[in-house]
Symmetry: C2
């Protein structure tokens, strides 16, 4: 079984390794919009399922692999970053002992975080952290604690799943914590659907940011205290943002 | 000018976007071993330079781009993670005003961190941080502070540049801080030269880890308090390591 990262959206960011695995697969398993990124062809069955169905989906994939199918479990971006990698190993650990003999391989991909960072310059160019802002699977208090400690460590920060219809208030609370911990002038970046036709980029400050600037398809980044903005005549956002390599 | 990520080493992990830019470039600029990953061909000049020459190298690349050359600045992995991205923007900000009109694009790549994580399972499957352990450009006290705060936040951690001949003692100090903050049983992973013929993977605990397990080509990862090891009959390290998505 292969656990495959499809990259952030554009075909030119899918690794040749992933493409060749997808060309050989008999079954592709994943969240509906990701499964639909794999073109239909004879001999391929696409198994799309809903969000929040990750463990059931992982079990289904392991069952099919144990039956001898060539299964590709697909995620957007990289499978190891808030994606199907952890779900498959969770299902494997709790599941049938025979699954532990399966030949499994994880194929890395260009994560949304790296693609968003590249579009804007190099905002994660020095020490950084990456936090899932969804409180579906962890208490809000832990998210807030991590935000405060990340600010104290002066990490640049990347946030996945900042906001959804079922959790409209979480991101406003995160912004409030960040304003208090990092100040109003700190750069914040919103990178929506990077590398797709729906891409939208915005650079502003914590003081100017509003919760509506993010949705579920937005990768949010906050600079460290050293992060710099360079106004330019080029660049997709009219400026470049980078975090210097040096703190001396 | 393009700032290009070559991925961790294997050609099957270079994005088609990066490959097509390299095929069109007149000049490739970078650290010698990375420049050598681009095959020579008529019409291409390869400009290899030493480690720690990043700013001079970035200036040279910007100068050539301003002269109308099709320049590709190459980094291993992703250019935005402890690589040439930040160096180029630093040189751009401090350099000639005309450089701000240059058409620059950053092409993301599969970082060593994501490739190493994939080989071992999904150790960065939940909130994590990424720290450069080199104290060339920042004081050791800041590294130690970040390690302690990252442990308090219970992040999984990825470390670049753990050890070099010029800084043999730093990684031993990092291990001591981590043992104190995370305990002796916490999983630690050493992933050297991932995806190349020199790849070497090892999973152990902080209690058993020694500084010699890392060198400059090693990506080191430490689990969070929830990270799990699954013994299996397959997998490149005889076990899978993953950090669950849920903390409840």
């Amino acid at each position: 079984m292969k656990i495959v990262g499809l990259g952030p959206g554009n075909e030119v960011l899918i690794t040749p390794e992933a493409s060749s695995v997808l060309a050989e697969a008999t079954d592709v398993v994943g969240y509906v919009p990701y499964v639909e990124r794999v073109a239909p062809r004879p001999g391929l069955t696409r198994h799309g399922s809903d969000n929040r169905e990750e463990i059931r989906r992982a079990e289904q994939a392991l069952e099919m692999a144990a039956d001898g199918r060539r299964v590709a479990v697909v995620s957007s971006g990289d499978p190891g970053v808030f994606a199907m990698g952890a779900a498959v190993f969770e299902a494997l650990e709790a599941g049938q002992p025979a699954w532990r003999a399966l030949d499994i391989q994880v194929l890395p991909g260009v994560s949304a975080m790296l693609a968003a960072s590249a579009r804007l310059g190099a905002p994660l160019g020095h020490d950084f952290c990456c936090i899932n802002l969804s409180d579906n699977l962890k208490p809000w208090a832990l998210i807030e604690k991590r935000l405060r400690l990340a600010a104290e460590a002066d990490f640049a920060m990347a946030f996945y799943n900042p906001r959804s219809r079922s959790r409209p208030e979480g991101f406003a609370r995160a912004l409030a914590v960040l304003r208090e911990a990092c100040g109003l002038d700190r750069p914040i970046m919103f990178a929506r659907a990077v590398s797709t036709p729906e891409e939208r980029l915005r650079v502003t400050t914590l003081g100017e940011a509003t919760p509506e600037m993010a949705d579920m398809r937005t990768l949010v980044m906050v600079g460290s205290s050293l992060t710099r903005r360079i106004p330019v005549d080029s660049g997709v956002a009219g400026e470049w943002v980078y975090t210097p390599r040096s703190v001396v």
